[in-house]
Symmetry: C2
């Protein structure tokens, strides 16, 4: 959510090692966007980055290793959570940032490629989970602050609220393949907040009904 679309130039300046990493991750993202995870090869990444193959193999090991490091870098560059003073506007910033990222030609394609890779590669799956759990944790505090301000019930599970904001947007992107619009973001905020205000995100509040039927 809210990452810059390109890596090169935004990685903090450093020595040769940092420059090599920036070039390799940039090339990895380029290749992912153009060819998907199944079209990603170490040799192509090395050639595109202008870096020796040996270096790429030694340092990243495999294409899932490249993807994992790319996701780490994208997480590092992600913006911190909002703090607008109100839960509705904080969640709106979050939801609209998700919409923006998913509609960004480069970043959205990167996420889709990694989500696809995760279905068949354990290392890509772990990189994806790590990325999203970090982002969820980062944003959980906006819910905790809202609880402290009395905007939401005590015991509201912040991580679940943040997941609930994003879920309908990813569902449209990946499952029903429908457009991910600003309106969908607004609906997600409105529905999640209605449920949260009603206490449906309070830990332990789940009362399971009888058996279906």
């Amino acid at each position: 959510m809210e990452q810059p679309s390109r890596i090169a130039g935004t990685v903090r300046p450093g020595g040769r090692t940092a420059r090599v990493r920036a070039a390799v991750l940039e090339a990895t993202q380029d290749e992912l966007v153009e060819h998907g995870f199944h079209g990603l090869t170490m040799d192509q990444v090395a050639a595109r980055a202008g870096v020796g193959k040996t270096t790429v193999y030694r340092r990243w090991g495999s294409t899932p290793g490249l993807v994992a490091d790319l996701m780490t870098e994208l997480a590092n560059q992600s913006s911190p959570h909002a703090d607008t003073g109100g839960i509705e506007s904080d969640l709106r910033v979050n939801a609209l940032a998700v919409v923006e990222a998913l509609n960004d030609g480069r970043l959205g394609a990167t996420f889709q490629a990694v989500i696809a890779a995760a279905t068949c590669d354990e290392q890509a799956s772990l990189a994806l989970r790590t990325f999203y759990l970090r982002r969820i944790e980062e944003w959980t505090s906006v819910v905790d602050l809202a609880v402290a301000r009395g905007e939401l019930p005590v015991g509201t599970d912040g991580g679940e609220v943040i997941r609930a904001i994003a879920a309908p947007l990813y569902y449209r992107l990946m499952i029903t393949r429908e457009p991910v619009t600003a309106e969908a973001a607004e609906w997600s905020v409105a529905r999640t907040l209605a449920a949260a205000r009603a206490g449906a995100f309070v830990t332990g509040a789940l009362v399971t009904g009888g058996a279906p039927g």
Copy 2:
């Protein structure tokens, strides 16, 4: 949601054409589960189904053609919506059916393979969208019946309620790669219903707040 895991034997009996189709779709699903969409080839499907390559090429054209027909068949075999007499238990049947399907080794792997395929193939994307929009439409009537019974506000958007039940489950499966549990299904029902009862699914109810920040 709630499809039988295997196709062979459940396709209605017919002539040779129906038997060939059943064998080919069964082989397509086997190959998808074992090798993913990128490992799917027309020749392997033909060999596995014991059907001539020419027949497979003539009738399905390409691997996305196979995937599209498989999704059509899975949609045809999906069970109709529940009608338990109450919206909470109807939605619970729906949510638990999604959990069951996603955790079914064969069916869950099939969906994940097609979801991954949709990120890089337009025909697979269309097949996926068609499948889910059919399932959403099928289940929308449980919400309409609930509105008619006075359980939910007039104007509640049934399709959006059904999407909201499934979205957190697919989000855990595909994005955060977390387990898709019966408890997650119960939470999804509780939260969606809380929002629906508060009117957050009523068409036109969206009041957009000020600009974020």
